[in-house]
């Protein structure tokens, strides 16, 4: 692609992404939403993030899609520590520690 085309992509993607983000916040505002919709929306984070992450964990791009023990263990430990401590930072640190330990043990480091 030429420079001008790439800039077109960047601008259009910027505007489009903003409109997606602004969609409901901008249009609905103070209008009340049906109770069922509100109940469904309460599950948004736990409904989106696991499905987003699962393929990255099981088929990591870095190994060209081959399941890899260090990454699987790191994911499991991050989840377990997050459940146990109920906070994000220890879970991130434990996940990274497990990842690097695993990569070192499996000789990929």
């Amino acid at each position: 692609m030429t420079d001008a085309v790439i800039w077109t992509v960047i601008l259009a993607l910027g505007v489009g992404t903003f409109l997606i983000r602004f969609s409901f916040l901008g249009l609905i505002g103070t209008r009340p939403m049906p109770p069922l919709v509100l109940r469904l929306l309460r599950y948004t984070p736990v409904a989106v993030l696991p499905g987003l992450v699962a393929p990255l964990v099981v088929w990591p791009a870095a190994t060209e899609g081959a399941p890899e023990p260090a990454r699987l263990c790191a994911a499991a430990v991050a989840l377990a520590v997050g459940l146990w401590t109920r906070s994000v930072i220890p879970a991130v640190l434990a996940g990274f520690a497990t990842l690097y330990l695993g990569l070192w043990l499996t000789g990929a480091f």
């Binding site: 692609m1 085309v5 790439i6 800039w7 077109t8 992509v9 259009a12 993607l13 910027g14 992404t17 903003f18 983000r21 602004f22 969609s23 409901f24 916040l25 901008g26 609905i28 505002g29 103070t30 209008r31 939403m33 069922l36 919709v37 109940r39 469904l40 929306l41 309460r42 599950y43 948004t44 984070p45 736990v46 409904a47 989106v48 696991p50 499905g51 987003l52 992450v53 699962a54 393929p55 990255l56 964990v57 990591p60 870095a62 994911a75 991050a78 989840l79 377990a80 520590v81 997050g82 459940l83 401590t85 109920r86 994000v88 930072i89 879970a91 991130v92 996940g95 990274f96 990929a108």
Partner: protein, 232 residues
């Protein structure tokens, strides 16, 4: 907490946003490196990070540019990756819907996975929070993350490929998102929603970018409400 003034709500947000620098820095730097390697100028890499400010879709667009996919397909793929943000937008309406339009527009510009998750976690934990404090908290969370995102992109673009593959930075995103989800699994209904999201997400991974995730998320939300209804 309920008595927090706008300023302290903002500072609380800054504090809650800090841990996400752990993922924003490597992810943005990686984007900067990849963009320059793909032949984009530093200005274009920065353009992505300032105007789009959504990591996963920036990588999707970059991949399509490298593959010479054409403008329409590139936009379609990258925007599909961002459609989940419409769900975020809807789920923030009960908390922020009454804010002035310009503030809702600013929130929208800064609405990415990390700011969304941190904000909703706080809003749910503190039901007494006033509207003004909710908005201040949201901007607080975004304050460390957004400028860092842009600066780390620049650093990556300038340093180029000097970041070793062995750092396994590809896995910073999964680890952070999993770490965010763990503390949110408070009830059986939340666990059910997460499990359905994982199973359907894996099953539909072959669908065009973003579509499988949307279906998985819709199924997962329904599962959450159904399990919640059974237990009530």
């Amino acid at each position: 907490m309920a008595l927090a003034t706008g300023k302290s709500a903002y500072l609380q947000g800054v504090r809650d946003g800090m841990p996400f620098l752990l993922v924003a820095v490597p992810f943005a730097a990686l984007f900067g490196v990849s963009a320059v390697e793909a032949g984009l100028s530093i200005g274009q890499a920065m353009g992505f990070s300032v105007l789009v400010i959504a990591g996963a879709s920036q990588f999707a667009a970059l991949q399509m540019i490298v593959d010479n996919a054409g403008v329409a397909l590139t936009l379609l793929a990258a925007l599909a990756v961002n459609l989940r943000m419409a769900m975020y937008s809807a789920s923030l309406v009960p908390y922020l819907g009454e804010a002035p339009l310009w503030k809702r527009a600013c929130v929208s510009y800064l609405l990415f996975d990390q700011s969304y998750v941190a904000a909703v976690a706080r809003y749910e934990a503190d039901g007494m929070m006033r509207l003004r404090d909710r908005v201040a908290f949201f901007f607080g969370v975004a304050t460390p993350i957004a400028p860092t995102w842009v600066l780390a992109t620049l650093a990556g673009a300038l340093l180029g490929a000097r970041i070793p593959d062995a750092a396994a930075l590809d896995f910073a995103l999964p680890i952070t998102f999993i770490a965010m989800v763990g503390p949110m699994l408070r009830t059986l209904a939340h666990v059910a929603a997460a499990l359905v999201s994982v199973v359907v997400g894996l099953a539909l991974v072959g669908l065009p970018s973003g579509t499988g995730l949307l279906i998985a998320a819709a199924c997962a939300m329904a599962a959450g409400v159904i399990v919640e209804g059974r237990r009530a």
